[in-house]
Point group: C2
Chain length 509, copies 2
Amino acid sequence: MEVVRKNFKETLPLIKESIDKADFFAIDTEFTGLLNGRDVSIFDSPEDYYLRVMNGSSEFLLIQFGISCFYWDEKRNHYLNDTYNFYLYPRGRPGPDRLFLCQSSSLDFLASNGFDFNKLIKEGISYMTSSTETKLRENLAERQLSYSKEKDAVRIPEENRQQIEDICTKVKNFIEKSTDAEMEINRCNSFIRMLLFQELKLRFKDEIIVDTKVLENKNRILKVIRKTADMDDQDTLRKKKEWDELEEAIGFSKVAQMISQSEKLVVGHNMLLDVLHTLGHFFQQLPSDYESFKEFTHCMFPKLLDTKYMSSLPPFKDKLGSSVLTELLATLGEPPFSLPKIGSRKGRGYSHLDDKEHEAGYDAYITGLCFLAMHAHLARMRGEDTDRVQPHSVTLKPFLNKLFLAKTARQDSPYINLVGADPTPARDHVFHLVFPKEWQRSDLSQLFSPFGPVTVYFLDECSAFVGLDQRDQAPDVMRILSKNNRVTLTPYHKYKSGGNGGDTEQQQG
Amino acid sequence: MEVVRKNFKETLPLIKESIDKADFFAIDTEFTGLLNGRDVSIFDSPEDYYLRVMNGSSEFLLIQFGISCFYWDEKRNHYLNDTYNFYLYPRGRPGPDRLFLCQSSSLDFLASNGFDFNKLIKEGISYMTSSTETKLRENLAERQLSYSKEKDAVRIPEENRQQIEDICTKVKNFIEKSTDAEMEINRCNSFIRMLLFQELKLRFKDEIIVDTKVLENKNRILKVIRKTADMDDQDTLRKKKEWDELEEAIGFSKVAQMISQSEKLVVGHNMLLDVLHTLGHFFQQLPSDYESFKEFTHCMFPKLLDTKYMSSLPPFKDKLGSSVLTELLATLGEPPFSLPKIGSRKGRGYSHLDDKEHEAGYDAYITGLCFLAMHAHLARMRGEDTDRVQPHSVTLKPFLNKLFLAKTARQDSPYINLVGADPTPARDHVFHLVFPKEWQRSDLSQLFSPFGPVTVYFLDECSAFVGLDQRDQAPDVMRILSKNNRVTLTPYHKYKSGGNGGDTEQQQG
């Protein structure tokens, strides 16, 4: 089900109901870019990885959020899904006017996969962090206190007097002779509107209410509304309207809060960026301290499960060729696996045949499907007789609260452990190398040939990390290669501890 | 006429022709945001103004360029217009993958006025600066030199051998038994594609050519093309394709270069940002030295005319209520002015009745119309008998090469003079004031009440620039107010010359 600005308010109770009845959720998000600055290196520790991704992704915007709520149907003995696909766009007033980064290739990719940017900007639901919400609520409450106080009237300048007088005459005619409920006053600049607000209120307070209306093309006009017996006074109406506008600006953050407050299992595929954007855009700025990040994440989402991590462990690891989401889905549909039967009520969910790849709602749904297929496989192996997910079961325990680190997985630091110590892979076999600018990959392989094959990660055109495939060769490297005066070699740990300034200063490069 | 990616190449000769025959151009542009960081202050000098706008706008993207080419029809004795509206989006490969800023309110505004963001991202024409173009041309020429050299073949790993062998068999069947001109090989990752490139070239060099094809959804597949007698060899085809792709990535920059090389009159309305974005995106990064900026601009566009500046001078100043473009157009259609007759060939121009406000092509067109109406008014006053524009005439001289500075115009530094000294308005009546946080505007007025009314420009919640409306009162201010120990007062010039660090450090605030 697609949710945009115009149906958000009416859909909110439905979403609440879906969240309340669900056993678990699968989520997926889309953003305006991936990474600003240098990429992670394959030798990064989980902490390095977090810091680089956190610093490099925070200025992009989250523009689509998909949530698939899986709830159990006792009668049919299988899951049903309620899936929502939200277009998200934080507009200004009363929220802050946002400056955000885009990456041209990312928007290009999304557009090629059917993402509707016109819908995004015209109909996207607003959002903000909890801290911004608190500040805006306080500001508004304070500002509204002053409305009842009388203010000094602005003097009408000589050159505007005739225009104001003409309009007042028109309004008087409207009050006395028309039967319409409203009249509009257009083609006034903001100063004239301000003078009119003041003058019309002074003259016709008991007969009319004056309001500003924003047109389709963003021009503003004044609306004069005939007062009826049951109508609140101008200040009360204005206050109510301002609170309504603030609620609309808080928008999707309310859904994020519901998901968090449910404390239920949240499943994602390769979900590190989804988690960082969800926390950073709807809750608060991400901490630059790694341990605080882990605590904060676990506190907001106490049960996270990354299907990419799950698929990288036995018994799945050897049976799954690719862990790209759609390919995973295809493999999990063939023996020894099988996709579970999932239904939905009309108009409320997806089917895996919908073919809406890279739409957040659809990707969330098939992530849930993959999770259920892997879960069912484990349950069958353990001889359990139900496909229903028990988040506290031992079956799921090894996979919980570990965020997959795609780019370092091959180098054995494959995850962030949110509830304990991270893996601390040895880096004794890795070296930082500075070499002549004209060197190619083959020159590096040649240099290290006495120690067997190497894995190279280029930092720029004259430096790289080099890892030995045969780790036992490491002790000889420094002794033998430090004599070569065309290169500068530093053991990885020494380089990272910053003997030469580390690599943090290159981050924005 | 709308120009996008798919009709750009074929339209380029038409555009060239329009530029060649035009007497002058009117331009307009749209961007993804206005200003990052602090706004200009009403007391800024032209140099301050330039630096602030240059620093605060360079990370936004130029996404639409409108050019209206006005050429004289001798037979009908009036102008015709060829107008082009370009959607512009610099995509990656072979151009750089761009990171750019957006301002949520700006995109919102554009969307409300009918801007099509899906068209932008899917069909926008690419562009790049001249320096990037030069670098990419050099890189490509250098890279292509190595194509003919033999490279070490990558060994096919054991686990991929069967897959490669199977595909080679299929290709062999295609060569020997099929009559199709092409076959496609899909579902291969980039490593397998690389192995296949190598292996197929080795085995079937004389029979086929192997190419990569990017699908609609950005997935890549291999295309095997049956070689015919007149077909170039694989390397020649590849080189040609790479140059074609580079030309496509240079894209709109070619049009910008044509406009520059024509050295003709370029008219814009409130055109400072249009000029900065045009120079910064299609030519080179803007200089941070103000005099260099003036020289660079004058060198690229030797005849610029800003209709907003023109309308702010006699004989127009007192007769034009508002200089907002559409309102200017309305006023210039009424006596003592009149809109000139303008035609166009079918499908090549706009009419002012098109009502496409804020589409760059339309705004460019009506800017040209306003210019012609003002020009005709001047010509009539001077008793000239033609409406045709003579860029070198004395009629236009007072208005040439002056860029209007909207926000400081009220404070008498209304323009940047690209070909001489800027106005240097006195600032002896302006003071920098630091005051208690709880103070309001009325407290500031109260403080300065001995010297008459003041104009206040707030810098933040406890500092502001204050200008005396009665400038002759200035000499007494320091003497009298410096005794007040709740405020800190500094004369404007002393503040700007940086006794206290100036305000440059607050720019990103």
